[in-house]
Symmetry: C2
C-alpha cells in the first residue's frame, strides 16, 4: 500500500534546484524550473509536479535531449509581438522568460503576444498566465503536447490535451485562474484508475478500435482520450475544436511541431513543443478600480446562486488551488511513498541524494 | 405542418435592407446588418438569421430601445488597443466597425484588441472573426449574452451562452472557423424540441429545481442550460469556466453589463451587451507561406485519421458551414412557412411588405 509523507515545499524546491544544477542547468534557471514544479504540487496538480522531475526532465537532460542552457533566440520581434525559438531548453525556463518578455511588452503596448517553438514540456500552464496578475494584466498561456485526443468521429490519438490557462485579477476576491486540459480528463487520471484497479466513467475515452471503454488499460494501450464535451450528442466537437485551436496557436503559429509530431517525453529526438503567451493591460480598456470591483461583484453573484440539491458551494476557477496552496504551505506537500522511491533512485543516478526530512 | 420555401439570398438581403432603412437605419448600416443576418442563414445557423429580424431588432428599433444611428464612440485608444461605446446601436453595425478598426490596427501593430460596451445582440460571432481571413490574420470574436447557463453546482441561469469564435486562414484548404456557444446547446435548440414535441437528451439542461430534465418546457420555464462538458463527472466546470471567461473579456473588460445583468431582447431597457475582438497578423510570427502549408498539412492529417465504426468523415470546424453556404447560394435559403408568416406580419407593421418570389 502506498502511503503519503509530507515534505516542506521549501525543502522540495531546494532539492529540485540541486538536482537540476547537477545536470548542468544554471542555478538561476534551476530555480525557475523548481518554482514551476513545486507550484504544481502546492496547487494540488501533483500530476505535473515533482513526480515528473526525472521522467520528463532529468532523463532527457542526462541523455542530451534537452539543452540545460535553454538558449532562447529571437526569431522576429515588434513592440507587441515576439516569436522565439526555445533552443530545445527546459520548458519551464523558456516559458518563464517568454512570458516575462510578453508582460514587459504589454506594459508599453497595452497587449502583447509571444510565441515559442522548439521548446519542451513546461509543467502547469497556469503558472505563466498567473505571472500577469501582479502587473494588473490578464495573462494567457497555451501549449501543445503529445497527441492523446482523437478528433470527433476519429479513432486515433492525433491532438494533444493542449491546455488553456487564463488568469484575471480581481479586487478583494481571489483572481479567476482557469487552467484546463481540453480533453475531459488528462491521461494521468486514466493511469491512476489503472493503478488502483478502478474502471473509468463511460465517456472519458475510447479503445484502439474506437469503442467507448471503461477499462483504463485499453485506453493506455493505444486508445485515445475524448475531447471536452465527449460524444457528438453532447457536442464533443467543440472540445475537439478547442484542442485544435490551442495547437494552431501554439504549434502552427510558432512554427513548432503540431498534432502527431509533438514529441513524447520518451522520444529520442527534440520534442519541439510550441507555446503561446499573451498579456493584456486592463487599464488600456477601463480604469482598474472599476474592473476589479466588477470582478468582485461577479464572483460574489456566482457564489450566491442557489445550489443544486446536495451542493453547498459554487467555485470560481482557481479557488480550490489557492486553498490547497495555503494548506500545503502550512502542512507540507504530500508525496506518495512510490514517488519518494523514484526520487531516491533518480537522485542517486544524478549524485544528489534525496534525503529530506519529512514534516514532523 | 410547417413547410420549407426557398428564397434567393440576394432577395432576402435586399428585403432586410429595406426593412431596416424603414426603421431609420442608414442604408450603409442596414446593408451591414443584412449581410450578417443573411450570412447566418447561408451558413445554416438559421436560429441567428432572418428569423430574428423582428423579435431581436425590428421590435427594439421601433420601441426606441436600439439607436438606429449606432453612434459608436471611442472611450480609450492606443496603437494596439481600442475601447468603444456602441451607443446602444445595432449589434451587427457596431461589431462590424469595431472589428474593422481592430484589423486596421493589427495591420500596423501586429495584433490588436477592441472591446465594446453598450451594444446589442450582434448575430453570429463567427462573421466578425472571419473578417480577418482576407487580411491573412487570425480573427477572434467574443460576446456576452442574456443569462441562460447555470454555473456548476448552481441551479439558476446566471451566465450567457457566450460564444467563442476564432477564424484561422489555411492555404489550399478551407480556413478553420470555430463558432461555438459555451453551453452544450443554444436555447433555440431546446425551443425546437419543444415545438416538435421531442424530449431533449439527458445532460443538456436542468429544470427550475436544478434537476436534470428531458422535458424542453421545463427548461424554458425557469430551467437552465448546462455548460459544455455537462455534469461535473464529465468536467462541465471547464465549460462553465469558458462561459465565464467570455463574459469577463467581453462584459467586464469592456465595462458593459455582465452575468445576470445582460439584457434580454424582450427587456425594456438597454441590453448593454459587451463584445471583445482581436486580430493577430500571422506574418509577425512566421512567414505566411509556411504557416499556410502547415495548416493544410494539419487539416489533411485530421481528415486522414481512421474513422470510428459507422463514420466516414472527419470535419474541420467551419467546413459544414462553407458547404451549406455553397448549397444555399445555389438553391436558395429555405425558410419555414411560420417564419415567412412572421416576416409578413412584421413587414406589414413597418410598411415594407414581404412579397419576395420564392426560388422556382
Amino acid at each position: 500500500m502506498s502511503e503519503l509523507i509530507n515534505y516542506h515545499a521549501k525543502d522540495l524546491k531546494e532539492y529540485i534546484i540541486r538536482f537540476f544544477t547537477a545536470l548542468n542547468v544554471p542555478e538561476i534557471d534551476a530555480s525557475i524550473a523548481a518554482d514551476v514544479l513545486i507550484s504544481a504540487d502546492l496547487r494540488g496538480i501533483n500530476s505535473h509536479g515533482i513526480i515528473r522531475l526525472n521522467s520528463y526532465y532529468g532523463d532527457r537532460l542526462r541523455e542530451g535531449l534537452i539543452d540545460p542552457l535553454s538558449p532562447l533566440k529571437v526569431i522576429k520581434e515588434s513592440p507587441a509581438t515576439l516569436a522565439l525559438d526555445g533552443g530545445n531548453g527546459l520548458g519551464q525556463v523558456v516559458a518563464y522568460h517568454a512570458m516575462s518578455r510578453c508582460i514587459k511588452m504589454a506594459d508599453k503596448a497595452g497587449l502583447a503576444i509571444t510565441t515559442v517553438r522548439n521548446s519542451n514540456h513546461f509543467g502547469i500552464s497556469g503558472y505563466y498566465a498567473m505571472m500577469a496578475l501582479p502587473e494588473d494584466m490578464i495573462g494567457i498561456s497555451l501549449t501543445n503536447s503529445q497527441p492523446l485526443i482523437a478528433p470527433t468521429f476519429g479513432s486515433q490519438r492525433t491532438i494533444g490535451t493542449n491546455p488553456i490557462a487564463v488568469a484575471i485579477p480581481a479586487g478583494q476576491e481571489r483572481p479567476y485562474v482557469l487552467d484546463m486540459a481540453t480533453s475531459i480528463v488528462p491521461i494521468g487520471k486514466i493511469a491512476v484508475h489503472k493503478k488502483t484497479g478502478q474502471s473509468i466513467p463511460q465517456g472519458w475515452a475510447i479503445n484502439q478500435r474506437g469503442e467507448l471503454t471503461q477499462d483504463p488499460s485499453e485506453v493506455i494501450q493505444g486508445g485515445a482520450l475524448l475531447p471536452l464535451g465527449g460524444p457528438a450528442e453532447l457536442r464533443g466537437y467543440k472540445g475537439y475544436g478547442l484542442s485544435l485551436l490551442v495547437d494552431l496557436l501554439s504549434g502552427v503559429l510558432s512554427g513548432a511541431a503540431f498534432g502527431n509530431n509533438v514529441g513524447k517525453p520518451s522520444n529520442v529526438h527534440n520534442a519541439d513543443v510550441g507555446h503561446f503567451f499573451a498579456a493584456i493591460k486592463i487599464e488600456n480598456f477601463r480604469p482598474l478600480e472599476f474592473f476589479k470591483s466588477d470582478m468582485d461583484d461577479y464572483i460574489r453573484t456566482l457564489k450566491g446562486v442557489p445550489k443544486l440539491p446536495g451542493q453547498d458551494r459554487i467555485y470560481i476557477h482557481g479557488e480550490k488551488e489557492f486553498e490547497l496552496t495555503e494548506k500545503h504551505l502550512a502542512e507540507g506537500v504530500p508525496l506518495l511513498t512510490e514517488v519518494i522511491d523514484s526520487l531516491q533512485q533518480a537522485g542517486k543516478a544524478v549524485g544528489v541524494p534525496f534525503d529530506l526530512t519529512p514534516v514532523a
